[in-house]
């Protein structure tokens, strides 16, 4: 057992941290947010150059050959910098689904395009009332000669307004909640019959409502009726990834709160001298360390071979991350006082992203119920 990073991992961490520190200052981020779709193509090219966009792919497919720990390191840095580029939708979800369900040919063609920064992806999975149930799919795919025709509506598709390709869960067989009969379809965002309405989200990112009216899919990843297991695996990996991103956010919120307390003066002294405030910032620290522990736990759970254990452990981690994140976010704003209520100060933006991550891929109630159903964690 060892929590130290290897030399390669340390190198990766240093280079990502440096990129974020150099290029992702709060003011730079504001400018990036104003670009089309809310992210920077220039920054994306730099990510590609650093090898980040192929991070989890095998080297034979233009990747870096990184594992869950490498993903964790990058996601934590993404959290610290409040990075807006669609790394999660493209690399973790898009690339992850192609790796998990795609044919060797598809992997050989599509993964290098992601790694080189040529193509971005979005995972069109949520429907109006499906919430966090991947099997609740009413969008349909019907075979038409050699291809598939998609009909249906997807909600709040992360980065759905700028993605080149959408990976759509659609039903080829079975009833609304059946686990069988779900396929993963690649649909060109510019294809006929695809209507995309993009919008900014609370955290400065973008999402889209997407309608498919007889839209023709470019391809299907794997079995058109057996895509759910791959979707669940990749969703768990993505959840582990956002746990790490959340730790990055919490770390920044805690550090900035402590720093602020040391400089802000009221009643003739730094507010860090008040014990009641000291203790509240200590409780933030405890929540942060507990979250960090569970982010590491989730990182290793993501490669657990038994799906039930994997899913239970990741859900447990998500509960801790959500609880810690809510506590730290609210306390960060409270201890900063009025300044954290303003859009022009960074603290509130961390709080906003953290709040969105709490519901992303499943809120606390959902995951707590999943853990409860799975039985003891020990």
């Amino acid at each position: 057992m060892d929590f130290d990073l290897s030399d390669d991992q340390r190198l990766l961490k240093d280079s990502v941290d440096r990129l974020i520190a150099d290029r992702y200052a709060f003011d730079s981020r504001k400018k990036i947010m104003a670009e089309p779709g809310g992210w920077s193509r220039d920054m994306w090219a730099q990510f590609a150059e650093l090898g980040l966009l192929g991070l989890p792919f095998p080297e034979a497919q233009g990747g870096f050959g990184g594992g869950p720990v490498e993903t964790m390191l990058v996601m934590e840095a993404i959290g610290r910098g409040l990075v807006l580029e669609p790394f999660l939708p493209t690399v973790i979800l898009g690339g992850g689904l192609i790796q998990a369900a795609g044919s060797p040919e598809q992997q050989k063609t599509l993964l290098p395009q992601i790694a080189q920064g040529k193509k971005t992806y979005a995972f069109a999975q949520v429907e109006r009332s499906s919430r966090y149930n991947l099997a609740d799919v009413q969008t349909t795919a019907k075979q038409d000669g050699g291809s598939w025709i998609i009909n249906g509506e997807k909600s709040v598709v992360m980065a759905g307004d700028t993605a080149d390709t959408l990976i759509v869960t659609a039903r080829t067989a079975g009833g609304r909640f059946d686990r069988g009969g779900i396929g993963l379809f690649l649909v060109n965002a510019k294809a006929q019959g695809v209507t995309i309405q993009g919008y900014p989200t609370q955290d400065g990112a973008h999402a889209a409502e997407i309608r498919f009216d007889n839209a023709r899919a470019e391809a299907v990843l794997g079995d058109p009726a057996g895509g759910l297991a791959a979707a669940e695996l990749v969703m768990d990996q993505a959840m582990a990834a956002i746990c790490a991103e959340a730790v990055g956010l919490m770390h920044e919120m805690h550090v900035s709160t402590v720093d602020y307390m040391k400089t802000r003066k009221q009643f003739g002294r730094a507010i860090s001298e008040f014990q009641v405030l000291q203790h509240r910032s200590v409780d933030m620290f405890v929540a942060l360390e507990q979250a960090r522990s569970m982010s590491i736990f989730a990182t290793f759970a993501a490669s657990e071979t038994d799906p039930a254990t994997r899913s239970r452990n990741i859900s447990a981690a998500k509960v801790q991350i959500n609880n810690s994140g809510k506590h730290i976010g609210q306390e960060c704003v409270q201890l900063h006082g009025g300044i954290a209520m303003t859009m022009e100060y960074k603290a509130g933006h961390y709080f906003k992203r953290m709040t969105m991550l709490e519901q992303l891929f499943g809120d606390t109630n959902t995951h707590q119920a999943k853990v409860a159903k799975a039985g003891s964690l020990f």
Binding site: D2, Q9, M261, Q290, A316, F378
Partner: protein, 399 residues
């Protein structure tokens, strides 16, 4: 980064598990797992079984019976011990006075006390807290005066746990009233049979007689009973309190308790429903388990980091006591939730309640409320959770 253990580490874990579950007296483990108090004889027996295997004092210097275990081995030893319901070796002996004597006392004192302390031939109790010196321990007023070749102790100690069983007491005494408060304190050993020492039991809200007040009235002890140097007692006390870095989280103990709660919640019924099927109950149980899992991971981080830190505690270790104590308390709440109305009968006895002597309700009911009341202490003793927060604020956050 790798969360797996080496085959050697796993073999060690299995050795611990086998010993604690198969070779240790079953009846004592059962009582601990059921939350009952142990008698003096049971505590002594348990301690000596461990010492016979060389496992009562693993963290002592090797020449005095310690082991050269790695942090991971020590972790498994504690975790398996706690999960099996094996009582820890008597802390006053093995974690407190033993290491202080081994580190700071003269060779004569070491030879005289360490083997007997390791084997619990001498039962020690701790004379630290006073009515006016709790969290602010350094303001203690019990004083020791040098008279000839003796020290004469006058004053009062309190919260002295299990002093009714003790043969000896280690006492923090003020030996220089003019020095800064931390700099005038000495660490003195006294035989409990010395004339002038009297004990008054304190009954705690769980009904038990775990703690006592100890009065010192012109208590004369030989000068060689002062450990190390005069007026250095505060350093020794800090050393003693800092000795325990990971075991204090009691993760293994809370795991065992949650397992027990799951078992009982599957037996106990509310109408036609089992308690474990109550959504509100299972939510609380699950959230406590998740919190404990996070703490277990935090503890492993501290254990793993221990190697490269040359004895300096990991900052994360400071949260172990904070979280660990709250989780222990939560488990006692859960147990009361399982028991329901039969938390109410109160059994008063000298050994403390714990056994269902009165026979009202299920066997496991009698110890649930006492455990809840008793466990309020865990966030108070050993540096209250507020003091822990002060420490983190200063040492880690730099306030």
């Amino acid at each position: 980064m790798d969360l797996s253990f080496t085959p050697e580490e796993l073999a060690f874990r299995d050795e611990c598990r086998k010993f604690f579950r198969e070779e240790f007296p079953e009846a004592i483990r059962r009582k601990v797992l059921d939350g009952q108090h142990l008698s003096k004889d049971e505590i002594v027996t348990a301690h000596r079984v461990l010492n016979a295997k060389g496992w009562a004092t693993p963290h002592w210097p090797v020449e005095w019976g310690g082991k050269t275990w790695s942090a991971v081995q020590y972790y498994f030893y504690q975790d398996e011990m706690q999960q099996a319901g094996v009582p820890s070796p008597l802390a006053f002996n093995t974690s407190m006075v033993g290491p202080v004597i081994a580190q700071f006392a003269s060779e004569d004192i070491k030879k005289r006390f360490l083997p007997a302390t390791a084997n619990l031939d001498i039962w020690w109790c701790q004379g630290f807290s006073e009515p006016g010196a709790g969290s602010d321990l350094a303001s203690l007023r019990t004083k020791a005066e040098k008279r000839g070749n003796t020290w004469v102790i006058n004053g009062q100690k309190t919260w002295t746990t299990l002093a009714q069983h003790a043969d000896w007491i280690f006492v923090l005494c003020r030996t220089d009233a003019t020095a800064k408060k931390q700099e005038g304190i000495s660490f003195i050993l006294a035989d409990m049979k010395t004339p002038g020492i009297t004990r008054r039991p304190i009954q705690t809200i769980d009904g038990g007689h775990e703690v006592n007040e100890i009065f010192f009235d012109e208590v004369v002890v030989p000068e060689e009973n002062l450990v190390g140097e005069v007026n250095k007692g505060w350093d020794y006390a800090k050393f003693l309190l800092g000795n325990e870095r990971t075991g204090i989280a009691r993760v293994g103990f809370s795991k065992a308790r949650l397992k027990k709660i799951r078992e009982l919640a599957a037996l106990e019924r509310v109408g036609e429903q089992r308690v474990i099927d109550d959504p509100k109950f299972i939510e609380k149980l699950t959230s406590t388990e998740i919190r404990l899992k996070a703490l277990e991971m935090t503890q492993l981080r501290v254990v793993a980091n221990d190697r490269g830190r040359g004895g300096r505690p990991d900052p994360a270790s400071s949260i172990l006591k904070l979280e660990g104590s709250v989780i222990q308390q939560l488990t006692t709440e859960l147990l009361m939730d399982v028991v329901g109305p039969y938390v109410m009968p109160f059994a008063e006895s000298d050994e403390g309640s714990g056994r269902n002597e009165m026979g009202w309700g299920p066997e496991y009911a009698a110890q649930s409320a006492p455990a809840y009341f008793n466990n309020r202490k865990v966030s108070i003793y050993g540096g209250s959770n507020e003091i822990q927060r002060n420490i983190i604020a200063k040492a880690i956050l730099g306030f």
